[in-house]
Symmetry: C2
Subunit: 687 residues, 2 copies
C-alpha cells in the first residue's frame, strides 16, 4: 500500500488546484455573498493568501503548515455585530516553514489589501504535524536498512506488511529544536485488511519530518531477547466476522422529519429554537461555535450566552513507565490538529435522521485549499421529557418533550477515534459530550512479562496500557450582554461560588468532592431581580480526573493545563491554546518567548473579577483497558455541562407546546379517557 | 374539587371488584398460562389473598396496606431456573392494620394451599402511606375549624381554594407510634387550574391517618405577624400560556420501527439483543428487573449479570433549618411507594417510538386489585456510535450503531415527578438514569425575610429551599453463573479495587475523588483467561453527593443509607430496604426488633468476600433551586452505570452488523465514492 509521496493527495480531502475553481465541486463549495467575519477561509481565499505569502517571501520558498482564518479582534467583531462598523477585513493566518532554513514564521495576510501585515519569526518551537507530515514515516521507515533488519530478526521480510503509525514525539532527549521529529509505532499485518493492532512490533522509529531521515530505530529487548510478533489474528472487519453477524436481531429504527428540520442555516449562521450562533471550523480546533445568543422570552431581547466554544487541547498520557512508552502522551489538538484529522461523515452511519452537513476547508503544504466534505454534522434529536407534572388529585397532566441540537465531528487520531458532540437543549443547557472509540494502542509482551500493573492483557502477548484522556474546552463567557450597549461591555463576568475567584491564580481551581464544589460564572453587574442573586451559568463537571503523572514528569510539565479542572484568565485576543501555540516537542518551559502556556497566563495573576474572562474546563476519563475494548472499543461517553443558573427569570422552555395535556374531570378511571394529544398544542377541553 | 371519600376510587387506578373479573378490561389484564415465579400478583390473586387473610383474621377486621408478591427465596428460584424443581408455590405478602386495635401485622399467604403461612405482629413501626391514606389530609383539613380560622386570618374564606399536599412526617416529637401521622403543606389556588405552588400558605397541618383527626395546625409567624399569601400567578398550563406557545418553531421528529421492535416479550420475560430478563413491579419499588442474563457469543453460553435491580429507597432532605421545614425529608420509596405513585403513560408524551407497555397491579385497602394501565414503558432507542474506526491510510471505515433498551416508569410524588430509566446497551452496560421534573416545593416569605442562604427566591415572596435527592438502587450481583451447576453457586462475587473489601463494615465505602476511586464487583473464582484478572463489572458513580445533613441530625439518623455512596452486604432473603421495612415515622434507632436498617446489617460485619452479595449504590444530586426551575422544572438528569470490566473475552458487540463499511482503494477523493451502505451488513466490495 506504500506509494510515492504526493503532497496534494490526502485520503478524505478534496484538493483544489489552480483552474479547479470553476468545477462543479468548487462552485458547490464556494459560499454565496459576503462572508461572515467568522467564516472559514474559502477555497479561493486560501490560494490567494498563499500567493501573497509566497510573493512576500520570494526568493525564499515556503512550506505551509497552515493557512487559516485570522479571527477579528473581539473589539472589532463587537463593533461589527453592534452595527457600528462594516465587517472587518478578511485576514488569513499562516504558519510557514522556510524550506531553505527550516525557520518557522507566523504570517498575517490582509485578503482585502492583499498585503502581508505581520511576519514574525518564531524560534525554538515546532508547528503541528499535518497529515502530509505524518505520511513521511511509513514511507521512509519501510525502506530503511535498520528497520528492515529489525523486522528480519523477528522473521518479517515482506516490508509491505509492516505499518507504522506516526505520532508526535512526547520527549526524546537526543534531539532538540534542530530537528522536526516524529516517532513511528510499528505493526504487522498478515493480510491487507488485517488488524495491525493485534500484531504490535517491539521497536519504534524516530524520524526527521523535514529531511525525511530515519534518525533511530529503537529496538526493545527483554533479557537480551527480541519479543516475538503476536501472530494470532483479532479482526473486526466484515471479511473476518462474516457469519458472526446476526442480521435479524435488531430491527431498523427510522427517524424522520417529514416537515424538515427546525433549524435554519444561512451561510454558517444557525438559528434553532431560541438560539442563534455561528459555526466555524479550523485545522486545529475543528468545530468552533461563536457568538451563542438566546432570545429571552421574558425580557424579549437577545442575550449572549457564550462568546466562543471549542476544544482547544487534549492530552492522552499513557501510564507505562518503560521505554519507549514514556514518549506516548498525545496532544491531539495541538500536535495533530483535530480539524485535519476530521472524518467525512456519512448519513445513517455517523449521524441518523435529517442532517445538515458543513464542509471543513483547510490548506495543503503547497498552499492549496483542501476540503473535507461533510466535516460537520448538524441535527436534532428528541431528548425525552422537557418537563412533566401530574396533579395527583384529579390526574391533570401536562408534559412537553425536550429537543437537542447537536453539532458534531468525528476524528481519527491514528488508532483512536473521538466523537465531539456539542449539544444545546431547550432549557438553556450546553453540553459537550465526547465519545471515545476506535483501537487501543497496543504493545507486545515477552513471555516473561506481565501486562499488570500498567496495562491489561487484552489478547495473548498483547498489552494495552492504562491511560487518561483529558479534554480542555474553553468557554469565552459573557454572562450578559445587550448587543450594542457600550456602557455594558461584552462579557462582564466573574466566577464565584461563595468564595469568589478574583485573580487568575485563584482561578486555577481544584475540585473538592466532599463539598460538592461547583462553579458559577456570574455577572455581578446584573442581578436576577427575582432571585436577588447575580445572573449566571453553572459549570457541572463531575468528570475531571486528576492528572495522575507526578509533578516534574514530562507530561506534567508539558500538559500544565491538565493539572487543574478549571483555569480562568482575563480575555486577550489570540491567547487561546493552553499548552502553547506550538505543542510538538514542547517542554513546558515557563516564560518561553514564543510559546507561553496557561501556567504562564495564570502566573500573571491578573484580575478576573467583573471582567471579560475565558474559562478552561478540563474533563475526561482514566482508561484502564478491558478485554471488552479489543479488538475495537465500544464507544465510551464522557461529558461536561453548563446550565443556566438564575440567568432567566423563569423556565426558558415554557414556549414549547406541550405534547400531553390531560384533564379527566369525569372519571378517575384512566382507561376511559384518551387524553394525550400528541403534538397537539392545546387540547380543546382546556381552553 | 373535594369529594366524599371513596376508598375504591383512586385517580389513575382501575379497581376490580367482585364480579368484574369477566369484563373485557379484566380479561385483557389476566395473564395467560402459568405465571412466572417473579410475576406480579394477578387481579385474581389479590382478592384471593385478601379473602384468605380476612377469613384468618375473623372476627377481627383488617385494612390492607399492601398485598404484593412474596418473591420466592433465592434458593427456591435457583432450583426452578435450573430445571430441578417445579415453580415454587405462588405466595402473597400483605401488611395489614387491624381496624379494631391499629395493630400492624405481616402476613404470608400461600395461594396454592390457600393457607396463611405466617402472621407476624410488628410493633413500633408505621407502614407506607398509600394514596388512599394521603387522601385523608385535604378532606379533613378543609373542614377543620383551626384550619378555617388560619385561612380566614390571611383573607381566605373559600376553603375549596385551599389545597393540602399530604406528606409523611419527617419528625414530630409530639407524637410517637400511637398515632399514624401525616403532615399537610397548605396552598391556595385562585382558580381551578391555577398553580398552587405559586401561593404557598404559612401554616401546616398534622393529622392522624387512621382516626382522621386534625391533631395540630402549626401557624408560622414572623415578628408576630402572619405571612401574606403571595397572590401573583405563575402558571404553566395551556389556558394560561395560550398565545405564549410558539407552534411552528419545532418541526416534528417521527421515530418508527416499520419491522417492529427488536425485543420479544413472553408474559413478563423479555429478550433483546443478547439480554434476557424478567420485568416485575410492586407497590413499593415500582419496576424490579430480575435474573438479567446475557448470551456470551465467545463462550456460547448464557451468563448471569445481575440477580435483581430496583430502586429500594430515596431520600430528599431539605436544607432549611427553620420550623416546619425540618420535617421535610421525603423517603419517596419507603414512605409512599414508587409503585403506588406511578403514572399511567401515554404514547408520544412520556415515550416516543414503538412502545410496549406493561401494567402495574396493586391492591386497595379493601383488598381489591387496583391496576395502573401502562405503568411500565419498554422501548428501544438508537444510541449513536457503538464503535467506529477509520484507517487513515486509505480511508477504510467501519462503524456500527448502538442501541438502547429502556424500561421506564414515571412517578408523581405530590409536587415532584421522577422518571426512572433502566437502560441496557449493546456493549454490556447497564445504566440507571433518573430525570427530575415537576414542581419545586415552595414556601412563602415575609417581607422581612430573605430566601438565602437556605433557598432561592424563585418568584416574589416565594422561596424554594435547597435540597438533595439521593437514590439507592441495590444490585444483587452474581458476577458469573453457569445455570444449573451446583458446584459453582450463583453469585460468587466480591468487590475489589486493589484494596479488596472483605466485610460489610469495609463495604461501607467512601468515594475519593483524588484517587478517582471506583469499585469493581468481581468473582475471584473465575479469572478472565486473557486479562488474567478476575471477571467483573465496574461501578461508575460520579454522582454521589455526600449527605449534607450533620451527623446526629434527624435525617442523618433516619437515612443511614445516604451516609455512604456504597454499601455491600451478604445476600439474605427478604433483607432489602436499607432505611428499614417501615420508613414512616422511623427514627433510625439501631437494633430495632422489627425495623433493621443497612446500618445494622453492616455492623454485623459479615464476610462479603467470595460470597453472594448485594451492592447498595447511592447517587443523586444537590439541588440549589434556580429561577429557571419555576413555575415548572426542566427535567434534570442524573445517572449511575455498571460497565463490563474483563467480563467478556472481547468486545461483546461484534455480532452487530455494521452500518458503514467503506473501502476506497481507487481514489482518495471522498467525493467520488459513496461508501456508506446504511443498514447493509456487508458491502459487496469487501467480500
Amino acid at each position: 500500500m506504500a506509494s510515492a509521496p504526493d503532497t496534494t493527495s490526502i485520503p478524505g480531502y478534496t484538493i483544489f488546484r489552480e483552474g479547479d475553481y470553476d468545477s462543479v465541486a468548487a462552485t458547490a463549495m464556494l459560499p454565496q455573498g459576503v462572508p461572515h467575519p467568522l467564516d472559514q477561509l474559502t477555497i479561493r481565499e486560501i490560494p490567494d493568501a498563499a500567493k501573497i505569502v509566497r510573493d512576500h517571501a520570494s526568493p525564499r520558498t515556503v512550506k505551509f503548515n497552515c493557512i487559516t482564518l485570522r479571527e477579528p479582534r473581539k473589539a472589532e467583531y463587537q463593533a461589527f455585530r453592534a452595527g457600528k462598523t462594516a465587517a472587518p477585513d478578511r485576514r488569513a493566518f499562516a504558519i510557514i516553514i522556510e524550506r531553505e532554513t527550516q525557520q518557522v514564521a507566523e504570517v498575517v495576510v490582509n485578503l482585502k489589501t492583499k498585503k502581508v501585515e505581520e511576519w514574525k519569526a518564531v524560534k525554538n518551537v515546532m508547528p503541528t504535524l499535518t497529515l502530509e507530515d505524518l505520511d513521511v514515516m511509513e514511507r521512509i521507515a519501510r525502506e530503511d536498512a535498520r528497520v528492515i533488519r529489525a523486522c528480519a530478526e523477528i522473521g518479517i521480510t515482506d516490508m509491505s506488511k509492516v505499518f507504522l503509525d506516526a505520532w508526535a514525539i512526547g520527549i526524546d532527549e537526543r534531539w532538540g529544536f534542530e530537528r522536526r521529529l516524529q516517532q513511528g509505532l510499528a505493526y504487522y499485518r498478515a493480510s491487507e485488511f488485517d488488524n495491525q493492532y493485534a500484531h504490535p512490533l517491539d521497536f519504534s522509529v524516530v524520524a526527521d519530518t523535514e529531511t525525511e531521515e530515519v534518525l533511530s530505530v529503537d529496538v526493545r529487548t527483554v533479557n537480551g531477547e527480541r519479543v516475538p510478533v503476536p501472530l494470532k489474528e483479532h479482526n473486526y472487519l466484515p471479511e473476518f466476522i462474516g457469519d458472526g453477524y446476526i442480521h435479524d436481531r435488531l430491527k431498523p429504527i427510522d427517524i424522520t422529519q417529514p416537515q424538515g428540520v427546525s433549524f435554519k442555516v444561512r451561510g454558517n449562521e444557525l438559528s434553532w429554537a431560541n438560539y442563534k450562533m455561528h459555526i466555524g471550523f479550523n485545522y486545529r480546533e475543528g468545530i468552533v461555535i461563536s457568538d451563542v445568543r438566546s432570545h429571552d422570552m421574558y425580557e424579549d431581547r437577545e442575550r449572549t450566552l457564550f462568546n466562543r466554544i471549542s476544544v482547544v487541547e487534549m492530552v492522552v498520557p499513557y501510564g507505562c513507565p518503560e521505554k519507549p512508552h514514556h514518549k506516548k502522551h498525545a496532544f491531539d489538538v495541538g500536535e495533530y490538529g483535530t480539524g485535519l484529522m476530521t472524518n467525512s461523515l456519512k448519513l445513517g452511519c455517523d449521524c441518523k435522521g435529517a442532517i445538515h452537513y458543513m464542509d471543513g476547508v483547510m490548506s495543503t503544504s503547497n498552499g492549496e485549499a483542501a476540503v473535507i466534505k461533510n466535516a460537520i454534522c448538524i441535527h436534532e434529536e428528541d431528548n425525552g421529557l422537557l418537563y412533566k407534572h401530574t396533579d395527583y388529585r384529579d390526574g391533570t397532566v401536562i408534559s412537553a418533550r425536550d429537543r437537542k441540537l447537536i453539532i458534531s465531528q468525528i476524528i481519527t487520531a491514528a488508532n483512536y477515534e473521538y466523537g465531539f458532540y456539542h449539544t444545546f437543549t431547550l432549557d438553556g443547557t450546553y453540553k459537550l459530550e465526547m465519545k471515545l472509540t476506535g483501537m487501543l494502542n497496543t504493545y507486545s509482551l515477552h513471555e516473561t512479562e506481565q501486562a499488570a500493573p500498567y496495562g491489561t492483557q487484552v489478547a495473548p502477548q498483547i498489552t494495552a496500557h492504562n491511560h487518561q484522556h483529558i479534554f480542555s474546552p474553553p468557554d469565552a463567557v459573557s454572562a450578559d450582554h445587550a448587543v450594542g450597549s457600550p456602557e455594558n461591555p461584552y462579557g462582564n463576568a466573574f466566577l464565584s461560588k461563595k468564595t469568589p475567584l478574583r485573580t487568575s491564580l485563584e482561578g486555577a481551581a481544584d475540585y473538592c468532592y466532599e463539598t460538592q464544589r461547583s462553579w458559577d460564572i456570574i455577572n455581578p453587574n446584573r442581578m436576577n431581580p427575582i432571585a436577588k442573586k447575580p445572573i449566571g451559568y453553572k459549570i457541572l463537571n463531575n468528570n475531571c480526573p486528576p492528572l495522575l503523572a507526578k509533578p516534574g514528569s514530562t507530561v506534567y510539565n508539558r500538559a500544565g493545563f491538565a493539572r487543574k479542572p478549571l483555569w480562568i484568565t482575563p480575555y486577550k485576543d489570540y491567547e487561546l491554546f493552553p499548552a502553547g501555540d506550538y505543542v510538538c516537542q514542547s517542554t513546558g518551559e515557563e516564560n518561553h518567548p514564543h510559546n507561553s502556556t496557561i501556567v504562564d497566563w495564570a502566573k500573571r495573576n491578573e484580575n478576573i473579577e467583573n471582567t471579560d474572562i475565558v474559562c478552561y474546563l478540563q474533563f475526561g476519563l482514566t482508561h484502564f483497558p478491558r478485554t471488552e475494548d479489543f479488538p475495537i472499543m465500544p464507544a465510551e461517553p464522557v461529558s461536561i455541562m453548563l446550565r443556566a443558573s438564575n440567568f432567566y427569570e423563569k423556565n426558558p422552555g415554557l414556549w414549547v407546546p406541550p405534547s400531553a395535556i390531560c384533564v379527566d374531570t369525569q372519571s378517575t378511571n384512566a382507561f376511559s379517557s384518551s387524553c394525550c394529544a400528541a403534538n397537539a398544542p392545546v387540547s380543546s377541553s382546556r381552553l
